[in-house]
């Protein structure tokens, strides 16, 4: 009894002496793992031009479908392009698409959802429109949009964000509907706060926490979505080395050079895992109440 108490005290003392970062890592191991993984991918993406000896679009007919070597770490594809360089540059596209989609859908979601939550007739119109959008499968909507417009990274971002928006609007609206009934909103009314200020000061800050968590999941699914679209040929233009495009190119030569699909696929999986881990970790960290409910 005394011994175990003593041991416990020792452990507490030891933990108290640890640096804060280490204690944080012990308490949220998955969040930290996700952050580290994402940090690595972000680092590789940013410094891709300096890390790669070869240009990602430079073709070399002599060095086609080469296995890993000192010169081509991940080998080469059917046109002799360096897979390592292409994968690292592909990370730029994926991260850009992921973050932009998350940011765009969250921003639209906050504005539309908050307005819908506070105005009954706008709510009726907007939510029926959102229901309509949700009835269209996201991938079809995105493919349709991509065929109607010229392929570029911006249009891919819009095409992926568009099907996500109704879901964010619904989430925000549901949150706003509960927040608006909180006594502190009534208190703000009572002390003369005008509606725009109530929204900005009292409503939006209180829905950010669950929204950040949702946005991180959207970021992860947007990266996968981008790979789908590119793989189907309806995504980023073929000259842009995105993970989906690289894998699409590698599809026909998978038996000859497995690396063409393997490496971008591995990166995609790890990056999505990292973002999802961060989302889970943030949820536990920011709002333990929600974590229990979900």
């Amino acid at each position: 009894m005394d011994l175990s108490l003593e041991r416990l005290e020792q452990r507490i003392a030891r933990q108290a002496n640890q640096p804060r970062a280490l204690r944080f890592a012990r308490r949220h191991p998955l969040l930290v793992l996700g952050l580290v993984l994402l940090a690595i991918v972000v680092f590789l993406a940013i410094f891709a031009p300096w890390l790669c000896a070869n240009d990602p679009t430079e073709m070399n007919v002599i060095a086609r479908l080469k296995p890993s070597s000192a010169e081509h770490v991940f080998g080469t594809d059917a046109m002799g392009r360096d897979i390592f360089s292409r994968t690292l540059h592909g990370a730029r596209v994926s991260l850009l698409v992921g973050f932009c989609v998350a940011l765009l859908s969250a921003a639209v979601g906050i504005v539309v959802g908050t307005v819908a939550g506070f105005s009954r007739w706008i709510d009726a119109i907007v939510m029926r429109f959102m229901d309509g959008m949700m009835a269209i499968p996201g991938i079809l909507l995105a493919v349709a949009l991509m065929t109607l417009t010229q392929a570029s990274v911006q249009t891919v971002i819009i095409a992926i964000a568009l099907p996500e928006i109704p879901r964010v609007v619904r989430l925000v609206r549901a949150l706003v509907l509960t927040i608006r009934e909180q006594p502190y909103i009534q208190a703000a009314h009572a002390c003369g706060t005008r509606l725009p200020r109530i929204l900005a000061r009292h409503v939006v800050p209180n829905l950010l926490t669950p929204l950040i968590v949702q946005a991180s999941f959207i970021c992860a699914s947007a990266m996968i979505f981008e790979a789908y679209l590119s793989f189907l040929g309806a995504g980023t233009p073929p000259e842009v080395p995105s993970w989906g495009n690289i894998m699409a190119d590698g599809r026909s030569v998978v038996q000859l050079a497995f690396g063409v699909i393997l490496y971008p696929g591995l990166f995609l999986g790890l990056t999505v895992l990292a973002v999802n881990l961060i989302g889970d970790g943030l949820r536990d960290l920011l709002d333990p109440r929600i974590a229990k409910k979900l």
Binding site: A187, A188, T193, R197
Partner: protein, 330 residues
């Protein structure tokens, strides 16, 4: 309305700060079948509050006392009736016309936890009403610290978030927010019922001290009769959306006329009371305000009910100086 009702609205001689006349709040009933009946949350009540006076408003849960209190601040829009603040009927003003009057009417909420925005610092919470009325100049550190000191919070408290305070301290914050604009009337919507008994006394004493210093009036909504007796000069008893008895606190507690008031007072636990009070315990629950009983709404639970109670609704009738009750048999 008849004259007795009008009289009941007048407080003790002094001119009234706030007069509520025939206030009604019906909520539309829900559903399609059977035909929805309006829910009569507040059904024609009148009362008045004088300068520096505390009017206690008591009744059991669901009797409409909170609705009545919030209607006065127009946090809930009244269905009909007049709310006269120093001669102006604020119930008839548009939202923008009413806004300046919010400076005179403030509220302290029941729940000290959910009535403070968890994402704002204490200082910003208390400064908000001042900023809303263009008085950001009064928000400097010293003036805010003085306001915090007035409710018994120290300077350090200004930087904290609501979650760092105890329940009693949070309620002090709520009171500071209500005081910031120097209101004439503070509606206290069960301000102590969520607090520990030991903390309740502190908050009640704080409210009393503030009234002595500032001359602010209170509409004190509560279900705890002991607390109401302590703080109020006059008390109104509500049952199912109506005031059944209203009178000076000493008179009403010593000589309750309405059977409902008698039952409420009999239910207050007493320590070492020598003379046992005649026990009139209430049977049953509060009827639904969507389907109130005909005639006297209290008849379904009243020990004195007779057939005539079902036919006509009793009006408030004078029982003594400043004392009115609504019952056929008194």
């Amino acid at each position: 309305m008849n004259s007795t009702h009008q009289e009941a609205a007048t407080p003790s001689q002094k001119p009234a700060l706030l007069e509520v006349r025939e206030l009604v709040k019906y909520y539309p009933g829900r559903g399609v079948w059977p035909k929805p009946q309006p829910i009569k949350a507040v059904d024609n009540i009148s009362f008045a509050i004088g300068y520096g006076e505390t009017l206690g408003l008591v009744g059991e849960s669901g009797c409409g006392k909170s609705t009545a209190a919030k209607t006065i601040l127009r946090l809930i829009e009244p269905t009909s009736g007049a709310i006269v603040l120093e001669g102006t009927d604020i119930a008839k003003l548009s939202t923008s016309q009413f806004r300046p009057y919010r400076r005179d009417l403030q509220i302290v909420f029941q729940d000290p936890y959910s009535s403070l925005n968890p994402r704002m610092r204490a200082r910003d919470i208390v400064a908000e009403p001042l900023q809303n009325f263009g008085r950001s100049g009064d928000c400097d550190d010293d003036k805010m610290a003085a306001l915090f000191a007035r409710v018994g919070l120290d300077r350090e408290a200004m930087r904290k978030f609501p979650s760092e305070f105890s329940g009693g301290q949070r309620q002090r914050l709520g009171i500071a927010r209500a005081l910031a604009l120097n209101p004439k009337l503070i509606v206290c919507d069960e301000p102590v019922s969520a607090l520990d008994v030991s903390i309740q006394a502190q908050v009640i004493n704080l409210l009393e001290d503030l009234q002595h210093e500032l001359g602010v009036s209170y509409l004190f909504v509560a279900h705890d009769l002991a607390v109401v007796r302590h703080i109020s000069q006059r008390v109104a008893v509500m049952y199912l959306g109506r005031i059944v008895e209203i009178g000076p606190v000493g008179e009403l507690y010593a000589n309750p006329r309405h059977p409902y008031t008698q039952a409420l007072l009999a239910a207050v636990p007493k320590v070492g009371a020598g003379l046992a009070r005649e026990k009139t315990l209430l049977k049953g629950d509060l009827p639904s305000p969507a389907k109130p009983p005909s005639g006297c709404t209290f008849r379904t639970r009243c020990p004195m009910a007779r057939s005539e109670c079902a036919e006509s609704s009793p009006q408030l009738a004078a029982q003594g100086p400043q004392h009115w009750a609504a019952c056929h048999f008194i």
